[in-house]
């Protein structure tokens, strides 16, 4: 995991420019196939209402493939960028841990960070309580977002449907710069700004054309 972070900080100078999504970066590994993850068969002893929640979780994962025209449900948590990317350092560790795990199991990524997401326009009740710039954690895995809500706590939750990833994860260009903490007493340096680039959605070639 540290090698990932390390490589990132070398490749990406910690400037504000690095925080923007890179529209021309083409990802070759974009949705091809979806593997069912972590939901090995539901536990035998689940009571009836628990098992129904489980089924819906499994369904939301299965829906992940980018079939044209079919809409997928995206769950998100949102808060101001400072909280999400600068203050909650364990959040960085969790995302890299999950990415490492997906890599080990060859699972297609189903979670992203979105800086100033366009979908927020549809959630006035959220935006009126939100400091900007805002950052959202978006995933097709509903239960995981529920877990992340439990962890982060100071975030707002909602969900929406979208027909493509590009649509779901569209964002407004924003510059992120965080003030250095006034009183940094930890016996280690802060995580380098820009770590979040790894988790931003890279727009697919098709939609760039």
């Amino acid at each position: 995991m540290w090698s990932v972070t390390g490589a990132l900080t070398v490749a990406v100078p910690p400037t504000a420019a690095a925080c923007r999504p890179k529209p021309f970066l083409v990802s070759s590994s974009f949705p091809k196939q979806t593997k069912k993850l972590h939901l090995s068969p539901p536990p035998l002893l689940l009571t009836s209402h628990f098992s129904s929640s489980f089924k819906s979780a499994a369904t939301s994962v299965e829906q992940q493939s980018d079939k044209k025209g079919e809409s997928t449900k995206y769950h998100f948590l949102v808060a101001n960028a400072k909280f999400m990317l600068d203050e909650e350092e364990h959040f960085q560790e969790q995302l890299f841990e999950r990415l490492r795990y997906y890599g080990e199991r060859e699972i297609e990524q189903d979670f992203w960070l979105v800086i100033e997401p366009k979908f927020l326009d549809n959630f006035p009740k959220i935006t009126q309580r939100l400091r900007r710039p805002a950052v959202a954690l978006v995933s097709t895995n509903g239960p995981w977002i529920t877990f992340m809500k439990l962890r982060l706590d100071r975030v707002l939750y909602d969900s929406f449907e979208a027909t493509s990833l590009d649509e779901a994860l569209a964002s407004n260009p924003t510059t992120l710069e965080f003030d250095k903490p006034k009183n940094w007493v930890a016996p280690y340096p802060k995580y380098e700004p820009g770590w979040w680039d790894t988790f931003l959605h890279k727009v697919t070639q098709e939609s760039v054309v």
Binding site: M1, Y101, L150
Partner: protein, 409 residues
């Protein structure tokens, strides 16, 4: 599970006098006599027999106020609390989400040793060797104590709440892994904790479920902050990387953090443990117990922290402040640990505690020792009480907190 809650014991006995069946679990004997190795709290003796022989010399358990403890609880009350028939308001979504997260098992293949361990152990000589052994022992004991408690809860809750039960079982899987890994580390020093014996011989401290929640939540979260701080410090200062186990801490402590989240969900499922003035008093009490225990413990072991390049008190204050910030996401009140007065109080406690320990090591007759201890115990107690009474910080999960409507995210 970390060890930082030992101080709680005598006081909890005081507050729940009726509940005194600590040895209910696993037919534990109340008064243990010998054990292969001790998990001592007093400063490590300069050189003992433990590091010499393969089998180790059997020593008396040197339990003291700050020794890592084993915990047991009222399993019937636990069954009631999480019975979905009785308690219809349980937030199943959170538990289902947690179950998925634990089943994911991020660290299934993480705890694999390599030859670096033995080489590093052989290089550790002199006083530092003994300090490392003690660190491994204490950590192993603490993890193992988590294993026992979670395993039993997993077994007992199977019928009334299979989801919660399975999460407990998966957490005991993590704890067993951690304990086993630490114990293998000890084998490089030609030592081993006899965990089977430990299970039977150690005293069990009884906590009502409510207190198990507060205590284990804090224990897991402070464990996370300790491990990640050591990891990140050594990452930045590799010249102090004298033992390979620290390289495993980054992934390892994510387990601790998740365990804490689970207790957070358990408490949210039982809002009566979070939403009244008593809950606030207990929250502050447990925070204080855990922080003070860690601070006093670590200040007796500065050699260990300095050995890996840390300033013990600064390390502890960082861990306390971060743990307190994390805890403020769930406990209805926390301590104002960022007030410099809090640290000054901790430092004065260390002074009294060190004098107390010093009296124990003199050759004075026991009544003289007792007399000498009285003023020190009094000053320690009054300092603890004063810290407890410092104006607290209102806190809590946004799902409950009164301040939530005014919160800007």
């Amino acid at each position: 599970m970390a060890a930082e809650m030992a101080l709680v014991k005598p006081i909890s006995k005081f507050t729940s006098p009726k509940l005194s069946n600590p040895s209910k679990y696993l037919s534990g004997r109340r008064f243990s006599t010998v054990i292969r190795m001790s998990a001592t709290s007093s400063p490590p003796p300069p050189a003992t027999a433990t590091s010499k022989s393969k089998k180790g010399t059997k020593k008396e358990i040197q339990e003291s106020l700050l020794t890592p403890r084993f915990y047991t609880t009222d399993f019937e009350e636990m069954e009631q609390l999480f019975n979905t028939e009785i308690n219809k308001n349980l937030n199943e979504a959170e538990f289902v989400a947690l179950l998925q997260e634990f089943k994911t098992d991020y660290n299934q293949t993480h705890f694999v040793r390599n030859k670096e361990f033995k080489e590093a152990a052989d290089k550790l000589q002199g006083p530092l060797r003994q300090i490392f052994v003690e660190f491994l022992e204490r950590s192993c004991t603490a993890e193992f104590s988590g294993f026992l408690l979670y395993k039993e809860l997993g077994r007992r809750l199977k019928k009334t709440n299979p989801v919660v039960a399975e999460i407990f079982s998966l957490m005991s899987r993590d704890e067993a892994r951690h304990a086993g890994f630490l114990n293998k580390g000890l084998s490089d020093f030609n030592l081993a904790l006899d965990l089977g014996f430990l299970t039977k011989a150690r005293k069990y401290t009884f906590f009502k479920p409510k207190f198990i929640f507060y205590a284990t939540y804090l224990s897991e979260k402070i464990g996370y902050w300790r491990y990640i701080t050591i990891y990140r410090h050594l990452k930045a200062n590799p010249e102090f990387q004298c033992y390979p186990i620290f390289k495993y801490f980054e992934n390892w402590c994510q387990d601790e953090n998740r365990h804490g989240d689970f207790f957070s969900a358990l408490m949210k499922a039982q809002p009566q443990f979070l939403n009244d003035w008593q809950a606030k008093l207990w929250s502050r009490f447990f925070c204080l117990s855990v922080y003070v225990t860690m601070y006093l413990n670590d200040c007796q072991r500065t050699d260990f922290y300095e050995g890996i390049g840390l300033n013990t008190k600064e390390f502890d204050m960082h861990v306390i402040i971060e743990t307190n910030r994390t805890t403020a996401r769930i406990f209805p009140a926390v301590l104002d640990v960022e007030n410099p007065e809090f640290k000054r109080k901790l430092d004065r406690m260390v002074v009294s505690y060190e004098k107390l320990l010093a009296i124990g090591q003199t050759d004075d007759p026991s009544f003289v020792k007792t007399l000498k201890r009285i003023p020190l115990v009094a000053s320690l107690a009054s300092e603890i009480l004063a810290a407890y009474l410092m104006p607290p910080v209102e806190s809590g999960s946004v799902d409950f907190a009164e301040f939530e409507p005014n919160l800007v995210y």
